[in-house]
Symmetry: C2
C-alpha cells in the first residue's frame, strides 16, 4: 500500500561535484543521472513522448573486471567504463537502454531493446500522483461517498465530519498493484493497470488514514493513459472511528502516559572507529563498498575481512542486497484478494527509503549517507540520510571464560549499516551488522501500520465466520498476511568459485562396531553429520524446517592447516516461515521461490531480482524459481545464495495503531574460515572511562 | 565438565545485617543459611556424621500466600513464615529437611524424610576437590602417565614438558557425572558414583587444560567414600600440543593483532532509570522480584507491567528461571558416551555463577547483586556480583513510521538482567530482557571452551571413519553435542488461571463460497488460523518445527474492549533444535522432555526441576515428561510453560580455543494483552545531548 501523499522530494541542482575517478561500483551521481537523462531524451532510438523513467541505475562492469580492480595485484590506472541501465515507458512500451556516461559531457545510448514479455517496470510516484487525482472528478465515486456520508449505520463519526464540511476532497485513494491472476481476469489489452482504494483523510486530523478505510470500493486505472477503466462499489461498511490512532507526539500528549526509560547516549571517547572514503567503508577488520539503488536500496559489495593470523585481507561477500519483499494478504474478498505486494519490483525499496532521524532512527554516534535516484522525468532526486552507519555498543559479549577465578572477557562491538524502507504503511528496518568475529548478520525489523479492513463487527462475539484477521478495534480488522524478505547474497569465500554443502544431523543407532562409528558401550544412539556437496540447483533448494542442518558455503580449493575446507555457514535466526499459498495460486506462481528459504544459483549478472526484472503484473516466468529450473551446476562455481526471511503475521491489538517492531534475520558466520577464533588476540578494553557527562542540547 | 581447580570461595562472617521483614521470596541471607546449618546439625533426626549439605534454598510460602502478599488489597503486616529446604547426605543416604528460620535465633527442623528412589543430589565442589586428590596416589595412574610420557608417538611436546620436570602433579583429573545407563552398567551397590578424566595441566602454562586431554583413561570413584572403585587405561592417543590455546590477555600480546573497535561507553545524563529496593526491581513500566538459588541461579518472580491506559499494574509472570541445561555429547566411545550433562541438577547453576567483570561482562552503567549459598559444611558463601542489571541502549527502534514526510520514531531501551553460569568448560550468558512494549525476552549466549578429544589425526585427509566431531587443530577433535536449556515459566496473565491456545496457520483453498470464508475472486488459496484451546497436558506438548503456529497463554476470564482474550504469546527465536537421541536411549529417558520445545503443566509447587529433584544418576522417573504422563487438565488452570532452547553444536575451528558467543532464546510478547501498542503515548526523546565526554581512568 502506497502513501496517499508523496514524501517531499528534494530535486537538486546538477552541479554536484564528484570525483573524476569513482569506484566502479559507486551508485550514479546526480551529475551522472542528469547525463543519462540527456542521452536518453536526445536519442533517436525512442522517439515517442511522453517518456517516463522508471528505473535508472548503475550497469556495473563485469564481475571479473570489478574483482581485478578491487583485488588485483597491480591496480589498473585506466578507468573502467561507467554505464547506466534504464527502463523507460514511452508509446505504451517498456524500453531498456544502456547509456555510456564514461564521459559525462557526451553521454550516449549504446543499446536499446523493447520488452515484449509480461510485466511492467515499477509504478512510479508520479504514476500514483496522477492516478490519485482521478477519483475526485469521477461522478460514481462522488455518489459512493455521498451514499456513505448519509448512511445512518455510522452517523456519529461521519456526521461530525460532515458538519465540519466533509466533502470528497477529504477522501483520498491510493494506488495498489493488482498482482497477476492469469486468464481469470481481464487483460485490458495489455495496458499497465493498477487498482485504487480509498480512505477518509481529513487534513489536520490523524495521518493514520490506514485506520479509516472506505471499504467496498475498488477502482481500476490505466496508469499510462491516466484513466479510470473500472469501478465497483460492492458493499458499504462502517468507517472505523479510529480513536487514538494518531501517533504523532504532539497529539498523544502531554500528558505522555507511556513508559519512559532513562535517556542514554553512547560516547566514543576516542572518536569513531569508522573510516569512510567515498563509498568505501573500513571498520575494525572489515572493508566494504556501500552502494544505493532505486530498486534495492542499500547494496553491500566487496566485503572482505582482515585475517590477522594470516596477515591478509580475505574475500567474503561480493554483493548483498534485498532483492524482493513479497507481502501477500490472506483475505480472498474482492477488495483484498489481489493484495500480494512485491515491494522492490512494484515500487522500489530505494525510492521508498526514509530519511533517518538523527538520534532516534540511529543513535547519536551514527554517520549518514544520502541516496540519489531519478524521478519520472529522469532528473536526479537526492534522498537525504537514507543510510546510517554506527558502532553498536549493546552490552553483548564476544567471548568469555572463567577458569580458576581468572576471567577473560571481550565485549562485542559491531558495525551496523541501517536503511529504513517505508513502503506505504509498513516500515522495514534493514540492518547489516558486521562483527569482528567475521560474521555478517542481517536483521529486518518490521514496524509501521497494519493494513486494516473495515467491518460492521464491534466485538469478537458477533463474529461467526472467518474474517481473515483479528478484530483490533471497533469496526477494524487487521488482515492476516505474510512477509517474505529475499536477500541476494553473492558469497565469494576466499575467491570466486565456491561450493554449497549441506551438513545434515542424523540420528544413528550405536552398532557397537567401531567400523561404523559405534562403540561397545551402553550408549544406544547419537547423531552424526551427513555431508552432501551439492551438485546442482535443484539439490540446492532447502526448506530449513525439514531437517536440522548446517548449511555451508566453502571454497573447495582452499583448506585450513588441518585440512578443513574454508567456509561460511548460514545461521537462520527467527522467522523461517515459508509460503502457505497453493502452488497453483497466481501470487504463489509469481513468488514460487518462497516455499524454500534457501536457493543457490550460479552467478549471472542479469539474475538480480528474485521476482524478475518486470515484477509489476509479472507472471513469475522470470523469477528465481524459473531460472533455477535449468538446474545448472553449482559445485565449484561462482554461486549466489538467495535467502528468504519469512514471517506469518497474525495481528494482535498491540500492533494497533503502530506496531512494535518484530524482527527476523540470519547470520553468515565463519566456519573453518579462520584457523581459530580471530578475537583471541584482541586486546581487552584497556581503559575505564569515568566522569562521563553530557550537556543538554535543546531541540 | 567441572573445573580442575575451584574458584576462590568467599566464606563470609555471619554478621550480615538483613531486614527483619524480608520479602517472602527473598533468597536465604547469610545469617539465615547459618541458622539453617545450626538447626540441621543440632537436630536429632539426622545423627549420622559426616553430614554434607548439597542443597540449601528457600522453601517459599504457598503461591496463594505470596500472591496475597504481593497483590493483596490490604497488605498483611504479619510476616509470612521463613523456611528453608535442605538436601543433605549423611550415612550414605539423602536427607530432605524443612527448617523453620522465621526466628533466626531459634531455628528448628520441622520435617525430615529420606529419599529412597533413584538419583542423588548435586555433586558438590567439595566432592570434586576430594576426588581430584585421588589419582595422585593411585599407582596404576602413575604408570599410565609414565607410559605416555615416554611414548615416542608425540615426543616434542611431552619431551619438552619432561625436560621441564613434568611429573604426575602436572596432570589434573576432573569429576564428570556418569549419567545413567540402566542395568547395562554396574550399580556399585547404590553408591554415589562419578567418573574422572584427566588433562595435562602445567602450573603457569595455559589455563586451557581442556585443550590437552589425556585421552583414554577413565576413573570410577565413589563420591561418598572418596575412593577409586574402577580404573581403565584403554587407549593411548597423543596429547595435543595445544599451540595458541592460552587466551589470557597477558599471554596473547603484545602485540595484540586481533581486530579492535573504538571504545564506547553508555552515558546516562540523568542517571539510571532503575529503582532497587532490597530484591524488588522497578524500571519503566516493569516491576519484579530478583532472587538467586544454588540450583537455578537467577529467579525472576512476580513480574508485572503497568498498563497506563487502564491505570493499573497487571500480572504477567509469577516465576521464571532456568530449570535445567542438558548437554549430551555424540561420541559413543568408552571415554565419551556417558557425557550427558545436566548442569543444574548435577552441579547447580547458582554455585557455578561467575563473578561478573565490570565494564566487560556488563557495561559501565550496570548495577550488581551478590548471591549467597551454602557450602558442603552448610556455611554461607558469598558469590560477589553474580547478577548484573543494566539499561541497554543498542540503537534499536521500538516503533516508527514515516507518512507524508512526517516521521515518528521511538527508540527501544530495555532492561537486561544478566547471569553467567560457567559450568566447567562452557559459559552460559543468561539474559532476561524486559521491554517497555511489555515483552520479556530470554536470550542464552554460549561461549567458553569446547570439550576436546585427543586423536592421532593431524589432517582431515587421514580420517576415514566417523570421528564424531571436527578436527579443530592437530590431534584435537571438537566433539558434536547439543545444548538444551529448559526454562520454567509460570505465566499468570492478569491472574492465576490461564489457558493455553494453539493458533495454527493452515492453508485453505478458496471455495468461492462466503459461508466457508471464500469469495468469488480469482484468488485460489490463503491461510487462516485454526484455534485450539488446549484441554490437557498431552495436547500441550508442541514441537515448533511441525507446523507454523502462534502459541498463546490467555486469561479466559478477561477480554479486551472488543472481546479478545488477554494474553501473551511465545515467540521462539533461533535455536529450536530438539533431541535426536533414540527414545530408548538412557540419556534421552532422563531428558525425555527435550523432544518437544513446549510443555504446559498445571502449577505444582514441587515441580520445579525439569530433570527431577535427584538428577545426578537419575533415571528420568521424576522428570517433566513423567509428571505430564498424568495428563492433567490445563484449561483455565494455574499453568506453567516449560520452554527448551535447543542447539545442535557442530564445532568449527573458530570455536577454538574459546568460542565466539552463539545465541538462542525466545520472547514472551503481549498478544491482545493491551488494548493497543502501549508505547504510542510514550514521549519521544526530548533532549539531545552534546559535548559528551569522559575522562580516562587507568586500571
Amino acid at each position: 500500500m502506497r502513501p496517499l501523499v508523496l514524501p517531499f522530494l528534494f530535486v537538486i541542482s546538477i552541479t554536484v561535484t564528484t570525483s573524476s575517478h569513482p569506484h566502479p561500483l559507486d551508485p550514479l551521481s546526480a551529475a551522472e543521472i542528469t547525463a543519462v537523462r540527456a542521452a536518453v531524451l536526445s536519442s533517436p532510438l525512442v522517439p515517442a513522448r511522453p517518456l517516463h523513467f522508471h528505473y535508472v541505475g548503475l550497469d556495473e562492469p563485469d564481475k571479473s573486471e570489478i574483482i581485478s580492480y578491487a583485488y588485483g595485484t597491480t591496480t589498473s590506472s585506466s578507468v573502467l567504463p561507467r554505464r547506466a541501465f534504464v527502463i523507460a515507458r514511452a508509446g505504451g512500451e517498456s524500453h531498456e537502454l544502456l547509456v555510456d556516461i564514461t564521459d559525462k559531457t557526451s553521454p550516449s545510448v549504446i543499446s536499446h531493446a523493447i520488452h515484449h514479455g509480461p510485466g511492467f517496470p515499477r509504478i512510479t510516484a508520479e504514476d500514483e500522483v496522477a492516478a490519485m487525482a482521478l477519483p475526485h472528478t469521477y461522478p460514481p465515486f462522488a455518489d459512493s461517498v455521498r451514499r456513505r456520508g448519509l448512511n445512518l449505520k455510522y452517523p456519529p463519526f461521519i456526521e461530525s465530519l460532515r458538519r465540519r464540511g466533509l466533502n470528497i476532497s477529504d477522501v483520498g485513494c491510493g494506488v495498489i498493484s493488482r498482482g497477476w491472476f492469469g486468464s481469470g481476469e481481464p487483460s485490458y489489452g495489455g495496458a499497465r493497470v493498477a487498482k485504487m482504494q480509498c480512505f477518509i483523510y481529513v487534513v489536520g486530523e490523524t495521518p493514520n488514514f490506514y485506520a479509516r478505510p472506505l471499504e467496498g470500493i475498488t477502482f481500476v486505472v490505466d496508469l499510462d493513459r491516466v484513466a479510470i477503466i473500472g469501478y465497483k462499489d460492492r458493499v458499504v461498511e462502517p468507517v472505523p472511528k479510529a480513536d487514538g490512532t494518531d501517533y504523532r507526539s504532539d497529539k498523544v500528549g502531554p500528558p505522555f502516559t507511556g513508559p519512559v526509560a532513562a535517556p542514554g547516549v553512547v560516547v566514543q571517547p576516542e572518536g569513531r572507529g569508522l573510516h569512510i572514503d567515498g563509498h568505501l567503508v573500513r571498520w575494525a577488520n572489515w572493508e566494504f563498498h556501500l552502494g544505493f539503488d532505486m530498486r534495492s536500496a542499500t547494496v553491500i559489495s566487496l566485503a572482505s575481512v582482515f585475517d590477522a593470523d594470516a596477515g591478509i585481507r580475505r574475500r567474503v561477500l561480493y554483493r548483498g542486497f534485498v532483492s524482493e519483499i513479497f507481502v501477500p494478504y490472506m483475505d480472498p474478498e474482492e477488495e483484498w484478494y489481489f493484495r500480494t505486494f512485491m515491494d522492490a519490483g512494484e515500487n522500489g525499496l530505494g525510492v521508498s527509503a526514509s530519511s533517518l532521524q538523527h538520534g532516534t532512527d540511529c543513535p547519536a554516534n551514527a554517520v549518514y549517507f544520502d541516496g540519489y535516484y531519478a524521478d519520472t522525468d529522469g532528473k536526479p532526486v537526492m534522498a537525504p540520510d537514507v543510510i546510517c552507519l554506527f558502532e553498536r555498543y549493546a552490552g553483548d559479549i564476544a567471548w568469555r571464560h572463567t577458569e580458576n577465578a581468572i576471567t577473560e572477557v571481550r565485549p562485542d562491538v559491531t558495525l551496523v549499516v541501517r536503511t529504513v524502507v517505508t513502503d506505504g504503511n509498513y516500515d522495514y528496518i534493514l540492518d547489516w551488522e558486521f562483527k569482528t568475529s567475521g560474521s555478517i548478520k542481517c536483521v529486518v525489523s518490521l514496524t509501521g501500520i497494519l493494513e486494516m479492513k473495515a467491518t460492521s463487527y464491534t466485538n469478537v462475539d458477533q463474529i461467526k465466520e472467518d474474517v481473515h484477521g483479528t478484530l483490533l478495534a471497533e469496526n477494524t480488522i487487521g488482515v492476516y498476511h505474510d512477509h517474505f524478505i529475499t536477500y541476494h547474497l553473492d558469497l565469494d569465500i576466499d575467491g570466486t568459485k565456491n561450493s554449497f554443502i549441506k551438513n545434515t544431523m542424523v540420528s544413528v543407532r550405536n552398532t557397537g562396531n567401531p567400523a561404523t562409528g559405534g562403540a561397545a558401550t551402553a550408549r544406544r544412539s547419537y547423531w552424526t553429520v551427513h555431508r552432501e556437496v551439492v551438485e546442482t540447483e535443484a539439490e540446492g533448494q532447502v526448506n530449513l524446517n525439514d531437517a536440522p542442518a548446517d548449511l555451508l558455503f566453502v571454497n573447495p580449493s582452499k583448506r585450513t592447516h588441518v585440512g578443513n575446507l574454508v567456509g561460511y555457514r548460514l545461521v537462520p535466526a527467527v522467522a523461517t516461515a515459508t509460503s502457505l499459498l497453493a502452488d497453483d495460486d497466481f501470487p504463489q506462481r509469481r513468488a514460487s521461490y518462497t516455499k524454500k528459504q534457501v536457493w543457490v544459483t550460479p552467478y549471472n549478472k542479469s539474475e538480480k531480482w528474485a521476482s524478475g526484472l518486470y515484477t509489476e503484473e509479472g507472471t513469475g516466468d522470470d523469477n528465481l524459481a524459473a531460472w533455477s529450473k535449468r538446474n545448472r551446476r553449482i559445485k565449484d562455481e561462482d554461486i549466489v545464495l538467495w535467502y528468504t526471511v519469512g514471517l506469518h503475521h497474525l495481528p494482535y491489538q498491540e500492533d494497533f495503531p503502530v506496531m512494535p517492531a518484530v524482527s527476523g534475520g540470519f547470520e553468515l558466520r565463519p566456519a573453518n574460515f579462520f584457523e581459530r577464533n580471530p578475537l583471541i588476540r584482541t586486546k581487552p578494553p584497556g581503559h575505564g572511562y569515568s566522569n562521563c557527562s553530557c550537556s543538554i542540547r535543546s531541540e
